[in-house]
């Protein structure tokens, strides 16, 4: 006789599936990172080049780039599964829906947020940040990218199945992401200036924790509605 799958088993398989899918296309999961790099490169291109000037600009450039590339990436979080009916099957699987979506979001973060985080130090150095600032920058982006992915999940759920979802999505997510952006940029700035950034770091962590607990529920509700 068959044994029911535990929520954990189901989630693990979703995770495995999404990673398989991503790695099947070589370098596909690298694209948000590439995008991130390009965006950070665009600034100096569009500016008159003075490193001093760039350094003051680094936090803004980094975070805007990170925010945009994660918004760009999250657009694909539910789109395909929604179109080809996979999400319907999730909803009908008899497993807690929010939990399954959380699994998908985690996979998404592993494929976009994490590489993004690991990529930032290089971009930061290219923008003239001192090597000493790397740990701080890393920490800030680690926390930031988590809450960005989670916020993105809500937006992705809301815009699921709309034409031109992408642009609308960014409209919905960017405002939500403003706090993350501000604290993140502030933390990065302090790190670059070599000052302790505990304050904004705590706030970033709080935002991430809040996101993990609430975002999946909101996303699940949004997706259910979009499925009709």
């Amino acid at each position: 006789m068959t044994t029911r799958a535990s929520p954990l088993y189901a989630a693990r398989n979703i995770l495995r599936r999404d990673l398989t899918l991503a790695f099947r296309r070589p370098g596909e999961w690298l694209q948000p990172v590439a995008f991130f790099f390009i965006v950070t490169l665009l600034f100096p291109l569009a500016l008159d080049p003075e490193l001093a000037h760039l350094r003051r600009l680094a936090p803004a450039a980094l975070w805007v780039a990170a925010l945009l590339s994660s918004v760009l990436a999250v657009d694909f979080l539910f789109r395909e599964d929604g179109r080809d009916g996979t999400l319907e099957q999730f909803a009908l699987s008899g497993q807690p829906f929010a939990w399954l979506l959380l699994a998908k979001t985690v996979a998404h973060w592993l494929l976009t947020g994490l590489p993004l985080t690991l990529a930032t130090p290089f971009a930061a150095l290219a923008l003239g940040a001192p090597a000493s600032s790397v740990p701080g920058v890393l920490a800030a982006l680690l926390l930031g990218s988590i809450s960005l992915s989670l916020l993105g999940a809500i937006g992705a759920g809301l815009t699921l199945g709309l034409r031109r979802g992408g642009a609308l999505l960014s409209l919905l997510v960017l405002p939500l992401a403003v706090p993350t952006l501000i604290f993140g940029a502030r933390a990065t700035e302090l790190a670059i200036q070599g000052e302790p950034a505990t304050g904004p770091m705590y706030l970033l962590a709080a935002l991430a924790a809040l996101g993990v607990t609430l975002a999946p529920l909101a996303a699940a509700a949004a997706v259910r509605i979009s499925l009709e």
């Binding site: 590439a34 390009i38 291109l45 500016l47 080049p49 290219a126």
Partner: protein, 249 residues
């Protein structure tokens, strides 16, 4: 002129065989030229009167730069021919060129940066020459990425061919960037009116390395191209004959 040779090369078996025979004839001279050139440049040649020994980076930087640009041109040309005359072999060549060209471009960038730190006091500057070379690298990466994203090989061939052709505009920009815009990067110093801007003891080794890299590029490219030709083969009898002996040794 007759197009016979053109079509002969277009046939996978012929290309596969000829390329196979050509490789050693390219590889050995390449090795010798590179060794001689690097020895002449890094050991024998006198230090530059301004840059002293830092100038020795030139002997890898400049050849890498030339070959990087050349390989993009080769790629674009092969892609264009393959697209217009629907010749698989040309697509194979283009596909084989991309990763190699990307490598040389990257080396040019890195060596350039390593040279820039002592000379300009910075690893990187937002300078037309530097940026356009960086863009070249992005084109190579985009080309590889596009190929990777398409699973049907013949579609991948033709799609990426379009990209290669479009991106070619960048190559002349790289070359003339120093003359068109005021660049901190130095302009043509070998092929220029009034002969090279450096003593023979410096430009001869440089030229040797450049030729060495070029030979080397074609050798490696042909090996890869043979592989790509095999991948594009569709159960042609020649492959069966080719591999039969190896199947039951």
């Amino acid at each position: 002129m007759s197009w016979a040779w053109f079509h002969r090369f277009g046939s996978p078996p012929y290309f596969y065989a000829v390329a196979g025979r050509l490789v050693p004839w390219l590889a050995w001279p390449a090795g010798l030229l590179i060794l001689a050139g690097l020895y002449g440049g890094v050991v024998m040649a006198p230090p530059d009167y301004q840059q002293s020994d830092a100038a020795r980076i030139m002997y890898v930087h400049v050849p890498a730069a030339y070959v990087g640009m050349m390989s993009y041109s080769v790629m674009a040309l092969a892609a264009a021919i393959g697209l217009v005359w629907r010749i698989k072999v040309c697509h194979a060549v283009a596909a084989a060129t991309a990763p190699i060209g990307a490598g040389f471009t990257a080396v040019c960038l890195v060596t350039g940066m390593l040279w820039g730190q002592p000379m300009w006091g910075t690893y990187w500057a937002w300078d037309p020459r530097l940026v356009s070379m960086l863009v070249l690298l992005f084109f190579f990466l985009g080309y590889v990425g596009l190929r990777g994203a398409i699973d049907d090989i013949s579609r991948a061939d033709r799609s990426s061919a379009v990209l290669a052709i479009v991106g070619f505009v960048n190559v002349p920009i790289i070359h003339f960037s120093v003359t068109w815009w005021n660049s901190i990067h130095q302009g043509p110093s070998i092929i220029r009116k009034g002969g090279p801007a450096m003593p023979a003891s410096m430009w001869v080794p440089l030229v040797l390395v450049i030729f060495g890299f070029t030979f080397y590029f074609y050798a490696v490219m042909l090996v890869r191209a043979r592989a790509e030709v095999l991948r594009r083969d569709r159960g042609g009898s020649w492959v069966r004959e080719l591999l039969a002996p190896e199947e039951n040794p």
